[in-house]
């Protein structure tokens, strides 16, 4: 998919008609728009979002004042419109949205969509550019300066986008989301309520219990769905608040942050120790049969060894020789007659002597039993080593060198007790720390440091909830399943009732199918996203780094093949953010094809991306928060990102942009005329162009788009 052009009429500061043709040359992927502050760079970004979605980027102000003021002053019925043309898979689309000075106050507009010149619908555009991706493909400068990923020293932070939802929407996964939600409502529908003519208190009670469990489960599942978005938003706000606090009282904020991070790290470490101890205990429980079987196996091996020593395995005397001795009454070796006593012994020997086949089986069995004992020893050694490590880490008495499974269980039991006590302690210390700095309802004029603390506390609470929500949902699922089984059994006497409970069971099974599909799309989509962001980052910066995407789509950077987390420079952090956008944009066309072919299950998780294909992104002023040192790296990286990148940016460092001139297919200047600006020019490819004009007659500002090509 590529944007072809943007045409605007009386849009915000742009009086009259203006047009931008985008570069569609893959070797020159950048379309550059140079404009001073106040010229409408963000308004241009929002022209895209308004045309395509009828909405705006976060922080865009005065959304009921879209029509240019100058135009309205001349004609109170003046109209504004925005028209975006794009091409996708050999089809050309046009989206035009218009409003006027009156309708804009009620947020009313007209929308026209065409496909290859024929009338089409808005859904045709949203199939290509799903709405959850709006904030990714149209990225405002404010988000750059606020994005928590810029705080390179802090691990585990993501952005304020619901990335999981964005990825699922590209795969048409919203269909599965809808299916799950609608099936949930179907289960609760009137159609499946109990028949009105039944009166059985036992059945009624079990139905109420089932419905209550189901309600709790529904609430938990809904919470599960919105939690990633809440967490991402809370992190973003906390990062913003922290930046404010650091400007206000950097020392206090640093001290608080250090102590907060230390205590939180302690909690996480003890949680890991508890999990480690629990897992080891389970491992030991699973292998406890080794302890009992070892005794039996050793005894069996001893007996087989004894049989071998006495010549029964393999037998030194063949059975046939003993048989003949008994038959003839003579020893077959010396041919002497045998006494009654000897006869008895020979009879006993014959009974106990194994024939050759049995002897071979005995040897094989002993061999297998010895192998089993070896495996047992190896497994016990492994468990002993793990228990030793755990005991050392927790300060518990280490197991003896020859400790068996039973002894190891006792050691691990102690480790669990110590780890649980430690976890309680670290949690208590963390909570006391948070409470000692708590401000319940900060009033206006509150200290930014207090605000930052409150925001961080919310993040901590949500992170804990996020870690525990899976277990909670699964527990409630089991509870609901049991309650339903009880209800189904008790309601079985009434045919009508039984039909309804059977229908509920069918719907519950169907819903479970869609829930697993949703989870899978997110899980395997996350794998594709991790691969894509690593490839994109490697295209932008040549460093041996590995990016890992967490379950909550948080992004952390490590040294390759190691668990050593890397602090990033400011430039590297911004490149990471750009890689994040680029990864989604590169995944988009692949996922679109996957969705069209209904191959979500087959192909998600195995997608390869590259710079050669991807959806375009519009990056509003990506370098504005940074000084020249970082700007160069970011600017140099942009042409390697995607086949099309549209960049409105200030010309304060136009020389930096001139360095990638060979990658810029189209360039424009957004010439600002205003009472509040000065007369300036911008030099591009050796020629001076008007950049801003001071004119006291123009109020408010007016912007004109001029091509530099």
């Amino acid at each position: 998919m590529k944007f072809l052009s943007l045409r605007i009429h009386n849009w915000r500061s742009f009086y009259g008609d203006h047009q931008i043709e985008m570069s569609t040359d893959p070797d020159k992927p950048v379309t550059l728009l140079l404009g001073p502050n106040g010229s409408g760079k963000t308004a241009l970004l929002n022209a895209f979002t308004w045309a395509l979605y009828g909405s705006f980027t976060e922080g865009f102000k005065l959304t009921d004042s879209l029509v240019n003021f100058e135009a309205v002053a001349l004609d109170s019925a003046a109209e504004a419109w925005v028209e975006v043309t794009l091409t996708h898979e050999d089809d050309d689309y046009t989206v035009r949205r218009s409003t006027d000075a009156q309708r804009q106050l009620r947020q009313e507009y007209e929308l026209t969509v065409t496909k290859n010149g024929d009338r089409a619908v808005e859904d045709d555009i949203h199939r290509i550019l799903p709405e959850p991706l709006k904030d990714l493909f149209f990225f405002p400068a404010e988000t750059f300066s606020r994005a928590s990923v810029l705080d390179g020293d802090t691990a585990g932070e993501g952005t304020s986008f619901d990335v999981g939802k964005a990825i699922r929407s590209l795969l048409s996964g919203d269909i599965y989301d809808h299916a799950s939600a609608d099936l949930r409502r179907a289960i609760e529908s009137e159609t499946l309520k109990p028949p009105k003519n039944y009166r059985d208190e036992t059945v009624e009670k079990s139905r109420r219990e089932y419905e209550q469990s189901q309600e709790e489960l529904n609430a938990a599942e809904e919470r599960y769905d919105i939690l990633p978005g809440l967490l991402a938003s809370a992190r973003d706000q906390a990062a913003k608040a922290k930046q404010e606090a650091e400007r206000y009282d950097p020392k206090k904020m640093q001290r608080w942050q250090q102590e907060h991070d230390d205590l939180r790290s302690q909690v996480q470490k003890t949680e890991q120790a508890v999990a480690r101890a629990d897992d080891l205990y389970l491992d030991l429980a699973r292998t406890s049969h080794l302890y009992f079987s070892r005794l039996a196996v050793n005894t069996a091996v001893d007996r087989l060894n004894a049989a071998e020593e006495v010549g029964l395995m393999p037998p030194r005397i063949d059975e046939s020789v003993l048989e003949k001795t008994l038959t003839t009454g003579r020893c077959m070796l010396c041919l002497e007659e045998i006494s009654d006593d000897s006869r008895k012994r020979v009879t006993l020997l014959r009974e106990r002597a194994a024939d050759a086949q049995v002897a071979v089986r005995g040897l094989e069995t002993r061999s297998l039993l010895n192998q089993y004992l070896d495996r047992h020893r190896t497994e016990t050694d492994r468990l002993r080593e793990e228990a030793l490590g755990l005991a050392n880490d927790l300060g518990v008495v280490a197991p003896q060198q020859d400790a068996d499974v039973k002894m190891l269980r006792a050691v691990v039991r102690s480790c669990i007790d110590v780890a649980d006590a430690l976890l309680k302690k670290t949690n208590r210390e963390f909570e006391e720390f948070q409470a000692s700095n708590d401000v319940d309802l900060p009033a206006d004029g509150r200290s930014p440091v207090e605000v930052a603390m409150v925001k961080q506390r919310l993040v901590d609470t949500l992170e804990t909830e996020f870690r525990e929500i899976d277990v909670k949902v699964n527990t409630l699922k089991k509870k609901t399943k049991d309650a339903f089984a009880d209800y189904q059994t008790k309601s079985g006497k009434s045919d009508d009732h039984r039909l309804k409970t059977t229908a509920i069971e069918i719907l519950t099974d169907a819903k479970a199918y869609f829930d697993v599909a949703r989870k899978g799309l997110e899980e395997f989509g996350r794998a594709d996203f991790q691969n894509a962001i690593n490839l994109t980052y490697a295209d932008l910066i040549a460093k041996p780094l590995e990016i890992r995407v967490g379950d909550d789509f948080s992004i952390r950077v490590f040294q390759t093949d190691s668990d050593v987390e890397m602090p990033l420079s400011q430039s590297e952090s911004v490149l990471l953010l750009i890689s994040f956008l680029g990864a989604i944009a590169r995944l988009a066309p692949h996922y679109e094809q996957i969705a069209l072919q209904s191959q979500q299950f087959r192909l998600t998780g195995g997608v390869s991306t590259s710079q050669k294909s991807g959806f375009p992104v519009v990056l509003d002023a990506p370098t504005s928060p940074f000084d020249g040192e970082y700007e160069e790296d970011v600017v140099a990286a942009l042409p390697n990102l995607l086949p099309q990148v549209i960049v409105p940016v200030s010309a304060k460092s136009v020389e930096v942009w001139e360095r990638i001139e060979s990658s810029i297919g189209r360039a424009y200047v957004m010439e600002l005329t205003s009472t509040k600006t000065t007369n300036r020019t911008v030099r591009w490819k050796g020629k001076d162009h008007t950049y801003s004009v001071e004119d006291e007659a123009v109020d408010p500002a007016r912007t004109r788009i001029v091509s530099l090509s």
Binding site: L192, L499, A503, I506
Partner: protein, 61 residues
């Protein structure tokens, strides 16, 4: 076969024929109404499940 596909295939194999029928109906209906009004779908799904339950009862009889 990918891991995801394998997972879903196993899940589908464990679904009852009635649940499979309802899954197909739900998928078709949700595709059709992806950007539209889905307000009537829950009742439609409940009715479909009831119909499948009746079919199951008749089969058992």
């Amino acid at each position: 076969m990918s891991e995801f596909e394998d997972r879903m295939k196993k899940l589908a194999e464990n679904l009852s024929p009635e649940a499979k029928t309802v899954v197909k109906q739900v998928l078709a209906a949700e595709h059709k109404r992806r950007f539209g009004d889905r307000i009537k779908l829950p009742e439609a799904f409940a009715t479909a499940a009831l119909k499948a339950a009746k079919g199951l009862k008749e089969t058992e009889q």
